[in-house]
């Protein structure tokens, strides 16, 4: 597993190429790239996004999410790269890649990691738009997405 918190723009294609070149015969790779949007949820033009992180706990939270994915799904390799700092629209925010022998585990692991990064990784996201700055909080559907992965208690 490789988990990185980076302060400069990264190239998602390069991440995917490096990830794939390190594999050992797996039959499936699923990757996801999250990109800074140019419009806010309410339609304003976004000038920049600021992703604030914690000096110790942000990376730790990402590693815990990655380890949970490996424990839960039959993935043999996982890479998570997440930006912090100031981003411009169009820049990648997050890259996730998962590899497995068969496709289902890789799809599920990437989906799981993204849902948990949204609500459980230590980041605080601010959009600076042409009409002011606004801190973004998880939406109800982000929590619903994360809760899909919750274990059910035995009845």
């Amino acid at each position: 597993m490789e988990v990185r918190l980076v302060g400069q723009p990264f190239v998602a294609d390069r991440e995917l190429a490096e990830f794939t070149s390190g594999l050992d015969g797996e039959g499936a790779v699923v990757s996801f790239v999250g990109i800074a949007r140019s419009l806010s949820a309410t339609g304003e033009t976004v000038e920049r996004m600021v992703l604030e992180s914690h000096p110790r706990l942000t990376l730790r939270s990402m590693e815990q999410i990655g380890q949970a994915a490996i424990d839960r799904f039959a993935v043999s390799a996982l890479r998570i790269v997440h930006r912090f700092g100031t981003l411009l629209p169009g820049e990648p925010i997050v890259f996730v890649a998962a590899a497995s022998d068969h496709r289902r585990a890789a799809f599920e692991a990437a989906d799981y990691v993204m849902d948990r990064l949204k609500t459980d990784a230590l980041f605080w996201k601010r959009e600076d738009t042409d009409s002011g700055r606004r801190w973004i909080e998880p939406r109800d559907d982000d929590h619903v997405a994360r809760d899909r992965w919750s274990e059910k208690c035995p009845e």
Binding site: V94, K118, W135
Partner: protein, 80 residues
């Protein structure tokens, strides 16, 4: 004790402030005191979605401060 803020709280209150915390004071009591001291951010300081962190661990409202030298306040998270 150092009170360290992140995200929206940092915008309103700055990176950190120093405040004497009485031995035996709880997180809930400290929050109410901070909210009185900083009316501009009182709604966020009292928001149950804002969590306190001591020694790199999230703590509950009934956590009692001892000889700790810092507490951090985390607004709701938004990564990805």
């Amino acid at each position: 004790m150092k009170i360290i803020f992140f995200g929206k709280l940092r915008d309103a209150l700055g990176d950190q402030s120093d405040l004497a915390v009485a031995e035996g004071e709880t997180v809930a009591q400290l929050r109410r005191r901070l909210a009185e001291l900083h009316p501009v951010a009182s709604r966020d300081l009292l928001n149950p979605g804002v969590r306190a962190c001591v020694d790199d661990m999230i703590v509950g409202e009934d956590f009692i401060f001892g000889d700790h030298d810092r507490v951090e306040f985390f607004p709701p998270l938004s990564g990805g």
